[in-house]
Amino acid sequence: MSGKLTYALPVALGVAVLAAWELLVRAYNIPPFVLPAPSAILAALLADWPSLMSSLWTTLRITLIAFALAVVSGIALAVLFSQSRVVEMMLYPYAVALQVTPVVAIAPLIIIWVGFERINLALLILAWIVAFFPILSNTTLGLRSTDHNLIDLFRLHGASPAQILWRLKLPSTLPYLLGGMKTAAGLALIGTVVAEYGAGSGTATGLAWRIVEAGNRLQIPRMFAAFFLLTVLGIAIFFTLSLIEYLVLRKWHESAVSKEK
């Protein structure tokens, strides 16, 4: 019952809002460059399907690569921190500085440094900067939260530092890491889009650039179509990671265990 409602309620609301939107636009004759009707957006989506899809793929590819790099480098640095207090004290403030600096502010600089001829690399770096920190901070927290008695037990049985890391610390970090990954994947998308805006016209061909381009040409339905695809992409990324989290943790972690058992 409540399971079906979980899907039925938001869908019903969405259909109602779309219907009201369509009716209002038609009833008041609102021009499409102010607010296009859903039907006009759908028409634009279908008409521009090939170019929008290719832009979607560009944005998605950079998002995924930046996310993967953020995961690998975030875990690696967190592990390094957990092994060496000195390295942590030295580097952590800079990791925070990287995180708190708004990506919009440093985008032009990075793009100039990397060069317009390698714009995808610049976008990748910017998206990585945004996505990296939640992985680092969550993994660091997870590694520190490892049960001290279990660490003692491992030591009592002569475990090497590598055994403690692989068999104990990394598995107990998983719930934290997966939470960080959910945040980071969304941020990688945001970072990519912001960086595309920063890159502006020229060589960038992602969804953000389609939005800028359509806005400049007052092709508002097309702009909405690109918005829509970005939202769908964000939701898809979120659900994919939620699914991964559930599949990994369902056997043992409280967060994934259903209440009635």
Partner: protein
């Protein structure tokens, strides 16, 4: 009986300057069931960690006349890896010692059998009750065939019936394996029922205040809890404990 370990003036002072234990003088003899009994915060757990080698004494020394034996450790909480099945948890000490895997599974299952958990090898800790988790923890401590078993208030969090059941099962395992057990508890009745010798510690820093030997060989016999012998023994231990509190006050 040969001496397994001798604590000579062992002290442990923490970085904060608080002395948790000592000087502690104590002899552990082979096949004994020794309970360390004392008020909360008297350094019982610290003493156990010192014996295990998880902490180094800041003064004094622990002598092992016949070499340090293989040690099993049971914590107050079951301390299981939640992502691993009961079998994988029990197998851990063997895995860490790089015992071949075809052997570890059989030995882990045998250890689970011994604590009454046959058939629960594939269960995850969250699927087990508190008492069953503690049984897994005991199976893990026994799987590598230790000579010395150290237990830190293992049954404190369990309900009374489960606790009594586990007391009896522990005595059976102790007798069958010829283990030496050091058992930390704050329950007079538990130490009276289980141990060949109860060592009463003072409030912090923990030192030996009194030793009360049992006149009876501990055995799994629930009826013993209702005998006058048991009551007398418990009274003796209780008054030693009271003395300790008075000295401290």
């Amino acid at each position: 009986m040969s001496v397994v370990a001798e604590l000579k003036g062992v002290e442990r002072t923490f970085a904060s300057g608080i002395k948790a234990v000592g000087p502690l003088n104590l002899e552990l003899r082979e096949g004994e069931f020794v309970s360390l009994l004392g008020p909360s915060g008297c350094g019982k757990s610290t003493a156990l960690r010192l014996i295990a080698g998880l902490l180094e004494p800041t003064a004094g020394e622990i002598v092992w006349p016949n070499g340090k034996p293989p040690i099993g450790f049971v914590f107050q909480d079951p301390t299981l890896m939640p992502w691993a099945t009961a079998r994988a948890n029990v197998r851990l000490p063997l895995d860490l010692a790089r015992v071949p895997s075809e052997e570890t599974t059989a030995r882990a299952d045998a250890a689970l059998d011994r604590v009454g958990l046959s058939g629960f090898g594939n269960a995850y800790p969250r699927e087990l009750s508190g008492g069953m988790r503690m049984r897994v923890s005991i199976a893990r401590a026994l799987v590598a065939k230790p000579k010395l078993l150290l237990m830190d208030e293992p049954f404190a969090a369990l309900d009374e019936m489960t606790r009594q059941e586990l007391n009896d099962d522990l005595l059976r395992l102790w007798r069958a394996d010829g283990l030496t057990i050091v058992f930390v508890t704050h329950s007079v009745y538990e130490s009276t029922y289980l141990s060949t010798r109860t060592v009463v510690l003072t409030p912090r820093p923990g030192r030996v205040l009194a030793e009360v030997a049992s006149e009876r060989m501990p055995a799994p016999d629930p009826a013993y809890r209702f005998t006058t012998q048991f009551a007398d023994h418990a009274n003796e231990v209780t008054s030693a404990l009271r003395n300790g509190m008075k000295i401290a006050a």
